[in-house]
Amino acid sequence: MKSLSKKTIYLIIAIVVAASVVAEAMFAHPHGHNWWHTMPGADILMGFIGGWVLILFAKQILAPLLQRDEDYYDGGDGDE
């Protein structure tokens, strides 16, 4: 994604999400049990924070901890 198109994509996301919040506030009939079911736009928090948490956890913690060279298992896994 080029930097220019990146900006456009951010803009599209912003418009779509803003429209969704308006639609949620006007038309949705939340029937949830907790605050995040009734507060318009609560899922934005979930998507943004959740996305960062997963990416950073996977890339910064899991990858350094668990990734090894391709020939880690005895190096003899190639075609014989």
Partner: protein, 579 residues
């Protein structure tokens, strides 16, 4: 009822496909599953086929209710799609294995008793192994052996549990959660191996990427979903399973973010998506069980489509690593469109079939009052979206700068199969009632409400931002990610090697001792008289001991006894003659 068992039809299809000439094989592979699908439709709720077995036990080869009918339907559909996808395949063994495997899955699904279940269960394990071995590389052979060992373990656990059940007179399959006895745990372990529940999921991400291109499509569809069916049938309402499901859903999603091998990444998403189903089993309400069933149905369609697209990329380019791919959207537009449809489906984007099934389980968690489960499953949905829709589509199909050559044109039958898969993902996504009407329990659920749709737009729309902001670090590296298969590939392997070395050393030592004893005995046995210290008088003067026993050396001289005998005889004659 119909006389045709759809599973046996598929097994017969496999056998016929294996023995007919190559030119006819593709027609058998395409046609056989359609007969099985027709047989499936001809089965009505309540249909039974009972065959007498030994000791007065009856085998219920078919016992249909709403739950196994819908699973049977999707397995039959999948066999048909898989059959078309593999029509170009020349290997008779792969045709046999894939159809027996699908037939085994239908056999497990449709049967009513434990004995029939274990038979078809083992048939699935044995036949699926050949879909890995048919790839015929050193990697696939080794992965296949590990797959075999894990499934032998799981199968034997299940068999032991079933022995306990049947010997207690409990021959029919049903919910076994009432008593947490040994049989409960053994059967649960057996099923959990096939459901790829961590930590016994390593076999899946180890073996599935090593299968053949067409074999992996079958593999991705049956084993885990048959296990989900068994979990719904036997373990519905086992509360702690919902936490297991959540762990699976997040585990698969996190590992998929860093994975580089296309099919291994998709395998991680099998773990993740099966997690949603296991969570549904744990919640155990009618809505949750419907959610698990519906998600299994949808999952088979979009996951097989993802594997078909990944297989098409591997077939065309010979490359399986994401970091070596790029820009395929323009070179393989049809595959690109199908992949996007499958990715939208698995991510739960409205109007695709993942949305209509995944949201049922999440709603069921909310309605049952399990708020943390609901939130964590939504988080897993974000992970799925990031690693498949964003990562795979961008790095494989969109990004520029990689000059990937199309070496082999994709066969037409693969396009047809992908087209059918994509069409079904979309049709079920737009018309959910086509699926909902077959779900096992009654429910009042409407997926296309404003709050449902808005929720997914916000959740997934915003999740794109972290991905794009972190894009420069998102490309996977040419590295291997360790998973729980490490436990039996490294420490357990080392333990086995140590134990076998110890046993070998003991054996060698015992062998040496025996050899010395034998040699000594052998030496002595050549001349036992030496051993008994009865060396011949003739040789008493010398130090030389004869190597071999010589009878002459030990005979007394003839003269002395003759003189004694003659003297006695002479005295006797004189005595008789003169006295």
């Amino acid at each position: 009822m119909s006389n045709l068992h759809p599973g046996l039809v598929l097994i017969a299809t496999g056998i016929i496909a294996a023995i007919v000439p190559k030119s006819l094989r593709k027609y058998v592979l395409a046609g056989g599953p359609l007969v099985a699908l027709a047989a499936m439709f001809s089965l009505s709720y309540g249909a039974e086929w009972v065959v007498p077995f030994i000791n007065g036990i009856d085998l219920y080869l078919i016992q249909v209710d709403r739950l196994n009918w819908v699973f049977g339907l999707i397995f039959s559909i999948m066999a048909a799609i898989g059959g078309i996808y593999s029509m170009h395949n020349k290997s008779w063994m792969e045709a046999l294995a894939s159809m027996c495997y699908a037939g085994g899955a239908l056999g497990v699904t449709l049967c009513g008793d434990w004995m029939t279940l274990i038979f078809f269960w083992e048939l699935m394990a044995a036949s699926s192994l050949f879909l890995i071995w048919c790839n015929n590389t050193a990697k696939s052979r080794k992965a296949g052996f590990r797959y075999l060992l894990v499934h032998m373990f799981g199968g034997n656990m299940l068999l032991a549990g079933i022995f306990l059940k049947v010997s207690a007179g409990d021959v029919m399959i049903g919910n076994i959660t009432a008593v947490h006895d040994v049989a409960f745990w053994l059967i649960l372990i057996g099923v959990a191996v096939n459901a790829a529940i961590p930590p016994i999921h390593g076999w899946l991400v180890d073996a599935y990427p090593e299968g053949t291109i067409t074999g992996s499509v079958f593999l991705s569809s049956f084993t885990t979903k048959v296990a989900v069916y068994c979990l719904i049938r036997m373990f519905a309402g086992t509360e702690w399973l919902m936490w297991v499901g959540v762990v699976m859903a997040l585990y698969g999603a996190c590992f998929a973010i860093i994975e580089n091998d296309m099919r291994r990444l998709l395998a991680y998403h099998i773990v993740s998506q099966v997690g949603f189903m296991v969570a549904g089993v744990g919640i155990g309400t009618d809505l949750a069980l419907n959610g698990a069933t519906a998600h299994a149905f949808s999952h088979i369609l979009y996951k097989s489509l993802l594997f078909m697209c990944a297989g098409a990329v591997i077939y065309a380019t010979g490359i399986r690593k994401i970091n070596q791919l790029g820009g395929l959207g323009k070179k393989m537009p049809f595959v690109f469109i199908c992949f996007v449809i499958a990715a939208f489906s698995i991510s739960g984007i409205p109007l695709f079939n993942g949305f209509i099934s995944k949201s049922i389980t999440i709603t069921a968690a909310m309605e049952a009052g399990y708020a943390p489960i609901e939130l964590l499953l939504q988080l897993a949905s974000v992970g799925t979206f990031l690693s498949i829709t964003m990562k795979m589509i961008y790095f494989i199909f969109i990004r520029e700068g990689k000059d990937v050559e199309i070496k082999n044109p994709i066969p037409k039958n693969m396009y047809v199969a992908m087209g059918i898969g994509a069409a079904l993902c979309t049709i079920y996504g737009i018309f959910p009632d086509l699926l909902y009407r077959y779900l096992p329990f009654a429910m009042e659920y409407h997926p296309f409400t404003v709050d449902h749709i808005v929720q997914y737009i916000q959740l997934l729309g915003v999740a794109m931002i972290p991905f794009m902001m972190y894009l420069s670090h998102m490309e996977p590296h040419e590295q291997l990610t360790l998973d729980t298969d490490w436990l039996y590939r490294k420490p357990f392997a080392a333990l086995v090697v140590s134990i076998s070395s110890l046993v070998c050393a003991v054996r060698a030592a015992l062998g040496e001792i025996c050899r010395v004893v034998y040699d000594t005995f052998n030496q002595l046995a050549k001349n036992p008289m030496v051993f008994l210290s009865l060396a011949p008088r003739a040789m008493a003067d010398t130090d030389k001991v004869p190597d071999k026993y010589d009878a002459d050396s030990y005979r007394a001289l003839i003269g002395e006894p003759m003189i004694i005998i003659m003297t006695v005889f002479l005295f006797a004659v004189v005595f008789i003659a003169f006295i």
